[in-house]
């Protein structure tokens, strides 16, 4: 993963931290990352706003935005990348909004996953498929 190729625009009092993970199968890498983040707690489906294009205009730089009101942290994973970890945004008590925006690189069509840790210690997760296509042939 080449951090310098990524433009990170963090909004509010968000701090980005890149998670580095070992290398077994990708699905389990994603599951492992979520388990590590949640400490194995239950994760509710939905509850995180994840804005990402349906089809990426350029797989090398895909704009995404995550937000979850009342979150203390939001972890973003690209489930189909060789290294799924993208970033974890931590929001301190002084954060005006629990929202972050960045651009990520996607190796191919895959799910982008956002997991939020709420102030009460609960977790919520939203995912969205972003298609990376070779393009052409538009009517």
């Amino acid at each position: 993963m080449d951090f310098t190729r990524r433009e990170t625009l963090a909004i509010g009092a968000a701090a980005a931290a890149v998670t580095a993970l070992p290398m077994p199968a990708m699905a389990s890498l994603t599951d492992d990352a979520i388990a590590e983040f949640t400490g194995g707690a239950d994760v509710a489906d939905g509850g995180v706003d994840l804005d990402a294009p349906e089809i990426a205009e350029n797989g090398n730089t895909v704009p995404i935005e995550v937000s979850a009101e009342g979150a203390t942290a939001i972890m973003v994973l690209a489930a189909g990348n060789p290294t799924p970890g993208v970033a974890t945004f931590n929001f301190g008590p002084g954060a005006g909004a629990q929202r972050a925006k960045t651009r990520i690189r996607l190796a191919g069509t895959q799910d982008v996953v956002a997991v939020a840790k709420m102030a009460d210690g609960s977790f919520a997760k939203t995912q969205k498929t972003v298609k990376v296509t070779i393009g052409g042939c538009g009517g």
Binding site: A56, E57, G136
Partner: protein
Amino acid sequence: MISRRDFLQVSMAASALYGASGFGNWAKLAAQQALTQDQLLEFDTFGNVSLIHVTDIHAQLKPIYFREPEINIGVGGNKGEVPHVTGADFRKLYGIEDGSPSHYALTYNDFAALGKEYGKVGGLDRVATVVKSIRAARPDALLLDGGDTWHGSYTCYHTEGQDMVNVMNALEPDAMTFHWEFTLGQDRVRELVEGLPYDALGQNIFDAMWDEPAAEFKPYEFYERGGVKIAVIGQAFPYMPIANPGWMFPDYSFGIRDENMQAMVDEVRSQGAELVVCLSHNGFDVDKKMASVVKGIDVILTGHTHDALPEPVLVGDTILIASGSNGKFVSRVDLDVRDGRMMGFRHKLIPIFSDVIEPDADMAALIDEQRAPYKAELEEVIGETDDLLYRRGNFNGSWDDLICDALISEREADIAMSPGVRWGPSILPGQAITREDIWNVTSMSYGEAYRSEMTGEFIKVILEDVADNIFNPDPYYQQGGDMVRIGGMGYSIDISKPQGERISDMTLLSSGEAIDPAKNYVVAGWASVNEGTEGPQIWDVVESHIRKQGTVKLEPNNSVKVSGL
């Protein structure tokens, strides 16, 4: 008390009746050889607002033939739903009599025979007559252009869209949105948009660097008509940098952005909009889904996928209007807007039969003025055809079979690829093929015909990728084109499978051998989205091929086997 939803449905039924009786009449009138302009334009003015919709004209200033698709497959929730109904099924659905003008205008069967009977369609001088007639009944009718206007002809290419801008300006639209216009390059688009005497709209046209609304395009505009405050929100083609060369307009980003669409609807409603119209280039199925996701749009004027529907499609409280392509149709939608909401509508899809509708003299002169400097080049006869040449359809059209033949023979290739675009008029058997006709199906700002080597595996990747852009069951992942056309190679496709599993039995037709994933094949194609593509222009390749043929004769193309319907 009748609910708003019920009211719309009642009105829908009335509209359907109106439409059905209209079709029946045309059939009888045609039988009596008495189809007249008055009958085509007949409309009992209704309510207090009129919308006039044209879209996907593709720079067709003059009347043309345009054959509607035979194969137009719907997937997922759109399986068997309009606009994915064709031919006899379409006629049955709308009560259209066989052999009637509507049969000819809206379905593909017996196209060559009916074309000789009913003549060419379209022509912006005829469209001008229709627009003037509607304005005579409703002087403040809104005229909205759904885009794909500044692309698709010899004169449009050579004037970089200026011919179309001049002619459309004379038609005096109120607003337009965009797709192929951007392939003129962002500098030229900005130059033309800056000089437009009407609004350039697109809520999903964003600045690529900052991911915020682009300054040159307003998301919406208000119009006060018939005492009604109308908001028109633009929606440009969402997948421009993917389906077309993004390097030609690097400053812009698009996407569906339905959350922003909802925010715009809420914003205009909060500012007092009583009627919200979306002028869209999403494509029909994308608009249908968007209508179910975004609340508060009254009318979506759809475009991009070139569908022509004689009745609106209702999604919740939103009506969708599909007005065809290439200048073949004009839609008129009359609305009754009272107490801040749409209470009912009346609609007519007006087919532009060029031999029935009188050309507007001023517009005809203006069109000829645009064409005059190029007259000799346009009219030069290159060859003729024994077979019907058409493009529309999910898998292949005879125009593309001819283009693929040209690529294989002129570029000495094993396999040819032609993009599955939906524009391009038809040529009847026995007709001469002029240079203009060739440009009408090939003209674009990235027409270089490449010749390169591709492995069998990569060819499959391309087919799988394009197939998923058409047959992904979620419309938001569809780009609205047809399947890439292939020459020199056959294949099978199971459209019900996921990406990567749809394509099989790839066969090199010249040898009958299976395509070897590891082997290199010489592939010739055109319309690459990659910067720096080299090769002769496709129209020159096709012209050279047709000259050598003299008279075009095509074998029926049965090389694509479709399953999973």
